[in-house]
Amino acid sequence: MTQTKSQLESSERFKPKASRRDFLGIAAAWSAIAAFVMAMLGAFRLPMPSVFPESNSQSKLGKPNRFLEGSATYFPKQNLWLSRSQEGFHAISSVCTHLGCIVERDGEGEFSCPCHGSKFDRAGNVAGGPAPKGLVWVDLSISPEGWLVADTLKETKQGTYLKV
């Protein structure tokens, strides 16, 4: 009986038996790869900071009575506009939610961004341009000594006013 080449090749005789040596070799290769990957993960954990340089994000803005009702004061270091109205204090971040430029505030209290022309209304809602969401309302509190404190990394809900 003659066999074709493909029959021959698929026959039992031609199937190499998985040997113990193969198994050990493959296992060794994979454990080396796994060890390498884990080592790299460990090494590349380094550039991911666990403490940020600005982790102390709270700063004193002043005593509340310094600010008149109806006033808006800019704090360039904290990038925020502090406003006082009848409802109380609120602080709106001047960092554009599009790509991080600093928005300008006009006489009407509306904001516009110089970089790609985003516009925001008095409450920080998007009124035009590419910004995906409104300006951030920054968390305000009163310190035990009676200072007005802003936490620039803490967001608060729009319409949250601090009564003094």
Partner: protein, 535 residues
């Protein structure tokens, strides 16, 4: 063997027998001989006058052996490569050279960086020239790498067996842009600061998508990328050091390794791509060694050197030699000329034009308009529609699409022919016009009428709609449809590829021009710089 040895030994015996001063005299004559003996140990073959010695010159030299000993005539024609690959390489070398010199004075600290730039410009001997050359070469490298890519594309050099080299090329393209971008921050001036702030926030822009999907709380890839890049939440000292490390070590080393691979691959892929007719005998002469001289090539002693693994259907015996010339010195002249012209151009630019330096970075007041370097301005225009699609989505689609090109278009014909011949030239021409019309049309529409947010009915539309439906995504979609139509009409994937590539190239050029010339403060439209409001 013994026969030839005899005179040798007897001579030595004689020398030794001359007597005591022999050793000293030998030392003396060795000393006199040292220059020539040293030269012989350095260059282990004779003067490269015969073809064989010329081949050996290339073959045995560590730096030259990346070239083959003989080169096809088609490969050194100016119209084949336009010298763009060599120009890119030379610019990279110039950048490394001038960059290391700049490192001598540059200090990567937010307090000192700007002052050290001023020093380099005004105090350091030839500092201004080195900085100018560095800056213009950086621009030049980006321009050349793009043009080189276009050359490789239009001559269909990405086809088998060069698919993977095209992919390596794509990685080099991305790394070159990264190299430029990281260098842009280092002067720590206003332009640098705000361009990089925008860039870092583009890294964060996947947030636009995750926010819209409401998954940011569990999967905030945007924030992760930004923190990894900046080491903080704003561009500051941490960011400056990170960009510096990337710019002076990580990216140059990565690029060097990939360039070496890129060149190695060219060699292994059988040299530069050439059309099949380039292997026909020239001048109708039937001689198999039409241009090879009578002297034996290296084949005689280095047979294995020429029987490399060549791709192709038939053994390439003899055909290998046809229409080739020795690499030394012909190809070296060509490479040298391209490299020297590039260097000359950079020196002239450096002498004539100063690299810009704006005021020192001021995190409180953005530059208005804060424009990125020219090669990112097209993206900046797209970003002004949607940060995520313009800054991440569309670039990712383009880079992925380009990298997959050789795997999607596998037609074998016409590699090595510009535009793949008549039909390709027509498709390129039509696509250029079509692409230009679409992009100009969309820009005009957007400038004149605005987009969804500017219209009463759609002013409050959810962000996700704008993310996926904005002028940028619209013309990318139109281009895709156009190229599918071209594939259908011409029944050729190569023609479809040409259509798509041409549309993107033209789109890129127009967007870059538009953002450079017609965008002013607040990213508003102006006919020219003279119309900008004064403030």
């Amino acid at each position: 063997m013994a026969m030839t040895d005899v005179p040798e030994t007897s001579k030595q015996d004689k020398r030794r027998s001359i007597g005591e001063p022999g050793a000293l005299r030998r030392l003396g004559s060795n000393l006199l001989d040292t220059p020539s003996a040293f030269r012989k140990s350095l260059v282990r073959h004779g003067q490269p006058t015969s073809d064989r010695a010329k081949s050996q010159t290339v073959f045995t030299n560590f730096f030259l052996h990346i070239l083959s000993t003989r080169t096809h005539l088609h490969s050194i024609k100016a119209a084949t490569t336009l010298g763009l690959g060599v120009a890119t390489m030379m610019l990279f070398i110039i950048l490394c050279f001038t960059g290391v010199l700049l490192m001598v004075y540059y200090k990567p600290s937010v307090d000192l960086a700007y002052a050290s730039m001023l020093d380099i410009m005004h105090v350091v001997p030839s500092g201004r020239l080195m900085r100018n050359i560095h800056r213009w070469s950086a621009h030049g490298m980006v321009a050349c790498v793009m043009l080189h890519m276009a050359r490789a594309f239009y001559t269909a050099a990405y086809k088998k067996p060069r698919e993977f080299n095209w992919v390596i090329g794509m990685s080099l393209f991305v790394l070159t842009l990264a190299l430029s971008f990281t260098g842009y921050l280092l002067p720590w001036d206003q332009l640098a600061y705000w361009a990089v702030t925008i860039g870092a926030n583009i890294a964060q822009s996947p947030k636009e998508l995750t926010d819209a999907l409401g998954v940011t709380a569990v999967f905030d890839i945007g924030r992760f990328q930004k923190e990894l890049l900046l080491g903080a939440h704003y561009v500051g000292q941490e960011a400056l050091i990170r960009f510096y490390v990337l710019h002076v070590i990580i990216l140059p080393v990565a690029i060097s390794i990939l360039i070496a691979l890129h060149f190695w691959r060219i060699r292994k892929d059988g040299g530069l791509v050439r059309p099949s007719y380039a292997d026909e005998p020239m001048d109708g002469s039937a001689s198999q060694h039409a241009t090879a001289s009578n002297e034996p090539g290296p084949a005689v002693i280095k047979t294995y050197g020429l029987m490399g693994l060549m791709k192709g259907k038939t053994p390439a015996v003899d055909r290998e030699m046809r229409n080739t010339i020795t690499t030394w010195p012909n190809v070296l002249y060509v490479i040298g000329a391209a490299a020297m012209l590039t260097t000359l151009a950079m020196i002239v630019l450096g002498v004539l034009y100063d690299a810009p330096l704006a005021e020192m970075a001021n995190p409180a007041v953005p530059e208005n308009p804060a424009k990125a370097p020219w090669y990112f301005l097209g993206l900046q225009e797209l970003v002004s529609y949607s940060a995520f699609m313009g800054g991440v989505g569309i670039p990712a689609i383009v880079v992925l699409g380009l990298a997959l090109m050789p795997y999607l278009d596998r037609e074998k014909e016409d590699a090595g022919i510009w535009f793949s011949g008549r039909q390709g030239r027509r498709v390129s021409f039509m696509s250029a016009i079509f692409g230009a019309a679409v992009v100009i049309g969309m820009l005009a529409f957007t400038v004149r009428f605005g987009w969804l947010r500017n219209w009463e009915a759609t002013a409050r539309i959810p962000q996700i709609v704008i993310t996926f439906f904005n002028p940028g995504t619209v013309f990318v979609a139109i281009f895709a449809v156009w190229s599918v139509v071209v594939v259908k009409l011409t029944r050729s994937t190569r023609m479809g590829a040409i259509a798509l590539f041409t549309c993107f190239l033209v789109g890129f050029a127009i967007l870059t021009y538009f953002a450079t010339v017609h965008r002013g403060p607040n990213w508003d439209f102006f006919w020219s710089h003279n119309d900008w409001p004064v403030h």
